[in-house]
């Protein structure tokens, strides 16, 4: 023992981590092209499959928004759709954006790619079920798309699918359209549950040695909490969808009271339309956070990395995510202040809703406080992160209007609501998705996305979306209801609103065009992008420390990583570099500093 110095002993002590609790695993290995790229059990490939499918269907939703904006902007000259199509398109646009794009992309896409890499696992814990999850999702998407082509077309019930209207003949697509929509949702939920179990169990069970929960990057906290919410919330939608199918196909009356439809007495009786609304929003409100929490987490990491500063108030950020997630289950009826439910509920739900604003505001403060005294690099991901803060703060502020029961009375079901939710759960999370793609594309492909195109994409998308949705609030304040095929002759609306609608539509086309530039960038950079190296952003989290880029099957080579610190050691005083990877042993930090 004579040659062991004091220092070396210190090193051993400092570098010590808890023993492994979970043994390393043997992964299924792909033997053919099909099992490697198609029926693949590697979460990274599944992530790419999820993302590409989600973006493809998202593109459909984007095109639908153009057709809608053509109608709203130029009702007399350029409209190519009629009222029935308008309602079919808003319904499909809304449902696709919320469920099939945002939920699938955040959880199925980013969740699959990032969870194993960021917690230091080889893969998801149930790779086969994970693969199945994607294929079931794809099936759900195909069923959804099929509903455009069935007799009567897609459902036009609005993305909220409220009965009785959703299944009665005054609504377009009330035959096959709504049935396929409900079936597609049911299939989606089955697929999601397979994936969601994986995300949750992997985070809980497969973290690397030393990766305590309070050392996890906020991205993982966001995705993890969102997955738990989804597992608890989707069943409510599932039940609602099944019951509505029964009402429609078997003539039951879960949601159907006595009704005279177009002069005909229907045989339904005794059901409650409001019951469906409770089920829908018991799912629907948490759904907002299923989309928002991963965005919160990811944007925290983008800001910390590109401002070279630890995320401010990490513990508060974690607790805020968890508390928001919990509270999101007791605010749902703020969507129902004017639904006819017992108005006394309004007191309770207004209070819970405004309480949820407090942890949400704290998150915003901590993002901007991370910029404060930071070393801000204006990379494309950082630009998108800043854009997110702006649109999210704007949308959050209008949430304080709609959550406050009495203020919601005039604004509910108007364009104000449309503007609010587009800002807060449309534009804001989409900006995070873009930022995240610019951030992680180099890890996924080994190449950087083109910077100039990225900046163009950012400016047009951010400024454009803001300019689209800001003025719509004012249409709502005047009283223009949402889901109006045309404003027509409305006494409270001056003629200048028509010009406003034209301008908004034109901007919507420009913003849509910028997305094509983004898609081009994705494809072009695959071959022509600058080689990225393994850690182009000099980031601390584990996914940037893989032995290969893109990471190989099993992620980590022979040895699993060992984690020595939290995810935010940026600009640590005394350290040689301005970032300390999570798996860098303290002894090496000391050696480098000396």
């Amino acid at each position: 023992m004579a040659d062991v110095t004091e220092d070396a002993i210190d090193d051993v002590i400092d570098d010590a981590v808890p023993p492994a609790e979970v043994p390393d695993v043997e992964l299924p290995h792909a033997h053919s092209w099909i099992t490697k790229y198609v029926f693949c059990q590697d979460a990274k490939v599944i992530a790419v499959q999820y993302s590409m499918t989600a973006m493809a269907i998202g593109l459909v939703a984007l095109v639908l928004s153009w057709l809608m904006r053509l109608q709203l902007g130029f009702p007399d000259s350029l409209s190519v759709i009629n009222a029935e199509q308008y309602y079919q398109y808003i319904t499909m646009h809304g449902m696709i954006m919320v469920i099939y794009l945002l939920t699938a992309l955040f959880l199925g896409g980013f969740g699959n790619y990032l969870i194993p890499l960021m917690v230091g696992a080889r893969d998801m814990v149930f790779p086969w079920v994970n693969m199945l999850s994607y294929w079931v999702y794809l099936l759900a998407v195909l069923i959804l798309v099929a509903s455009f082509f069935v007799p009567g077309g897609a459902t036009g019930a609005g993305w909220t699918l409220y009965p009785p209207q959703a299944i009665l003949s005054g609504t377009p697509g009330s035959g096959w359209g709504i049935i396929l929509m409900l079936v597609s949702l049911i299939v989606f939920i089955i697929g999601f549950t397979m994936g969601g179990l994986n995300y949750v169990v992997t985070v809980l069970q497969a973290r690397a040695r030393g990766m305590t929960l309070m050392r996890m990057p906020l991205t993982i906290w966001g995705i993890f909490t969102a997955s738990v919410l989804a597992l608890l919330a989707f069943p409510a939608l599932f039940v609602g969808a099944v019951m509505m199918l029964f009402d429609h196909l078997l003539g039951t009356s879960f949601f159907m009271p006595a009704i005279v439809n177009m002069g005909q007495q229907l045989s339904h009786d005794g059901g409650s339309p409001i019951l469906f609304q409770h089920l829908f929003w018991f799912f629907g409100h948490p759904e907002v956070y299923i989309v928002a929490l991963p965005a919160f987490g990811i944007v925290s990491d983008l800001i910390a990395t590109h401002a070279r500063r630890n995320i401010f108030g990490y513990r508060m950020m974690v607790w805020a995510i968890v508390i928001i997630g919990g509270l999101s289950f007791i605010v749902w009826a703020h969507h129902m202040y004017v639904s006819g439910m017992d108005p006394a509920f309004g007191f309770f739900f207004a209070v819970t809703t405004l309480i949820i604003a407090v942890p949400t505001a704290l998150k915003v403060y901590n993002w901007v406080l991370t910029l404060w005294r930071g070393d801000i690099h204006f990379t494309v991901p950082m630009l998108f992160a800043l854009g997110f803060i702006v649109t999210f703060v704007n949308g959050g502020m209008t949430g304080l209007f709609l959550g406050n029961a009495v203020v919601d009375v005039p604004l509910s079901d108007t364009m104000f609501v449309v503007a609010h939710f587009h800002m807060v759960m449309g534009v804001a999370p989409i900006l995070v998705i873009f930022g995240a793609i610019y951030h992680w594309y180099p890890k996924i492909t080994g190449r950087m996305l083109n910077n100039a195109l990225g900046k163009f994409h950012f400016w047009v998308t951010f400024v454009g979306s803001y300019a689209i949705f800001l003025p719509l609030h004012y249409l709502g304040l005047m009283g223009v209801p949402r889901r109006y095929f045309e404003i027509g002759d409305m006494s409270v609306v001056p003629p200048s609103a028509a010009t406003l609608n034209e301008v908004v539509s034109i901007i919507a086309f420009v913003v849509g065009f910028a997305q094509m530039v983004f898609l081009f960038n994705l494809v072009w950079s695959l071959r022509k992008g600058e080689p990225a190296g393994s850690n182009p952003w000099r980031a601390t989290t584990l996914e940037w420390q893989t032995p290969q880029t893109p990471p190989g099957h099993g992620n980590w080579g022979k040895e699993l990583p060992v984690v020595h610190r939290w995810a935010y050691d940026y600009s640590v005083p005394g350290a040689a570099e301005d970032y300390l990877p999570q798996n860098l042993p303290p002894s090496r930090v000391r050696a480098a500093a000396e």
Partner: protein, 333 residues
Amino acid sequence: MSGASRWVFGGGLALSGLAGLYLASRSGEGTLYWTGLVLFGASVFLIFNLIGGAFDKAEGRPPESYRLVGYALVAVAVGTVVFHVLSPWWWAPIASNWHYIDITIDLTFWITGVAFVIILGFMAYCVFRFRHREGRRAEYEPESTKLEGILTVVTALAVAAMLAPGLFFWNQFIDVPEDAVEVEVVGQQWSWSYRLPGADGRLGTADTRRISPDNPLGLNPDDPDGQDDIIINGGPLHLQVDTPVKMLLRSVDVLHNFYVPEFRAKMDMVPGMVTQLWFTPTRTGTFQALCAELCGTYHAYMRGEVVVQEEGDYQAWLDDQRTFARLAAAEAP
């Protein structure tokens, strides 16, 4: 950006700025005016940024987008406020007792507006002050319990300042005065009907199951209260000014929502149940009623009319209306 493209880009901006000025001066008012001004402002802004970038280049500083980002943050904050103040699109003057709602909305605009500007302003400050420069390092400060504590308290107070009046007025909104006159509104795809209680001041019972071509609102023919009920099918609803109204809302088929923007109040109509809503019309005139809950293909065309009158005019109109009993008699063979 290369020198040549800087010129091309700058020239384009100059042109669009001029076009904006031209547009604004030609229209002189309305949306085009504002569009022109915004175009002009945006062009000037970008030209400045271009010049700033050229200086950066001349002085050998690395081109960074921080300046554009900082300006953009300020522009979004200022632009949002300016748009809010100058926008010609604002709610129609109120015609009911719910000015409390307007007040609470105004209060919320103030609080959220101030917070919005402060947050964006602070971001802009950080962008300029803490942008990356050669050799700069961020400060290492994981958290500050004190700062987070203060922010929590301030936020909670601001939220309470909006919530308290909100709950107070919600209580009034759902608390129907005893002396309110009952009026029934019935929605069906895609029109409104109304029923007034008649001389006895009471509405008779009704049921969707009784609806037939002769009895479009499904009144109970055996209910004495219903005989003198006044039924208005198709025409406008008249109300007496300064008299509290309790609207009983009913739908025979799908969800609808009776919404008169000037009254500020709205409520869904749900088949299978009766919902309600109260207000006092405070101004005479004719107001448009809109359907504010998606109810099928012709949702946007489901319009109605409410005429608010002084007592004398109202009585004169009322005397012309037909009761359920008379309607039933007229339709009997």
